[in-house]
């Protein structure tokens, strides 16, 4: 729970495996819900996204991530732990930039809490993304509702 939220570069398989491994042996949990967000190679006109460069207000990201965890744990009393990892810096298309893991006594709380946490992350984490296209041009991107 004390792990930092911001990760330099992509979120790797090893980081994800490490978070999952930490739950092994927890006999109070009945389910873990995982969300992995990754960079999509969107096509805009004649240009294709090759990477996203994330920037962040680090102190506020950590403060807001702490608030999200606190709210989720208080709203879903069956939730026992959660991890949030978010990339900072360049993440190539196909690489992961967001990882959310919620562990709960029962599946419904794990799934619902994970879904809610993702919406809160989108709304309140001070993170910005600049798309880098294959021709090396760039453009700032705002979140859609999808």
């Amino acid at each position: 729970m004390s792990q930092k939220t911001l990760i330099n570069g992509p979120i790797t398989q090893e980081m994800i495996s490490s978070c999952l491994a930490a739950l092994a042996g927890n006999t109070d949990s009945g389910g873990h819900s995982v969300f992995i967000g990754q960079v999509r190679a969107d096509v805009k006109g004649a240009k294709r996204v090759k990477a996203i460069e994330y920037s962040a207000y680090e102190n506020m990201v950590e403060a807001e991530a702490g608030k999200i965890k606190g709210l989720i744990l208080s709203e879903y009393n069956d939730v026992q732990s959660m991890d949030i990892l978010h990339s900072r810096g360049v993440v190539m298309a196909g690489e992961a930039s967001l990882f959310v893991l919620v562990s709960a006594g029962h599946r419904r709380h794990a799934i619902d809490a994970c879904s809610k946490a993702i919406e809160m992350i989108k709304a309140s984490l001070p993170v910005w993304k600049k798309e880098i296209f294959e021709d090396s041009s760039t453009g700032w991107k705002e979140n859609s509702l999808a």
């Binding site: 962040a56 978010h86 709304a123 993170v127 910005w128 979140n143």
Partner: protein
């Protein structure tokens, strides 16, 4: 008062700086006016302001050493 002002996302790009230190600030209104004079281009962008990691909805009373962040709409995830 001395106030540290941070710019993020597209605002850091258009101001060509990630931060600027202001001295002799008398109030939030005074600070906003000075920032507007230094970086008039930011008026063309949507942004929210945080004081010491907290978003504000009305003009705050500043104190020496506060950190102000100018932030465009969030785009995490």
């Amino acid at each position: 008062m001395e106030i540290q002002v941070l710019f993020f996302g597209v605002l850091a790009e258009v101001t060509q700086t990630a931060f600027k230190h202001y001295k002799g600030v008398t109030s939030f209104a005074d600070l906003k006016m000075r920032i507007g004079d230094d970086f008039p281009e930011i008026a063309h962008y949507n942004f929210r302001i945080a004081v010491n990691n907290e978003l504000i909805n009305e003009d705050p009373v500043l104190k020496n050493g506060d950190e102000i962040a100018y932030m465009p709409p969030f785009a995490g995830g």
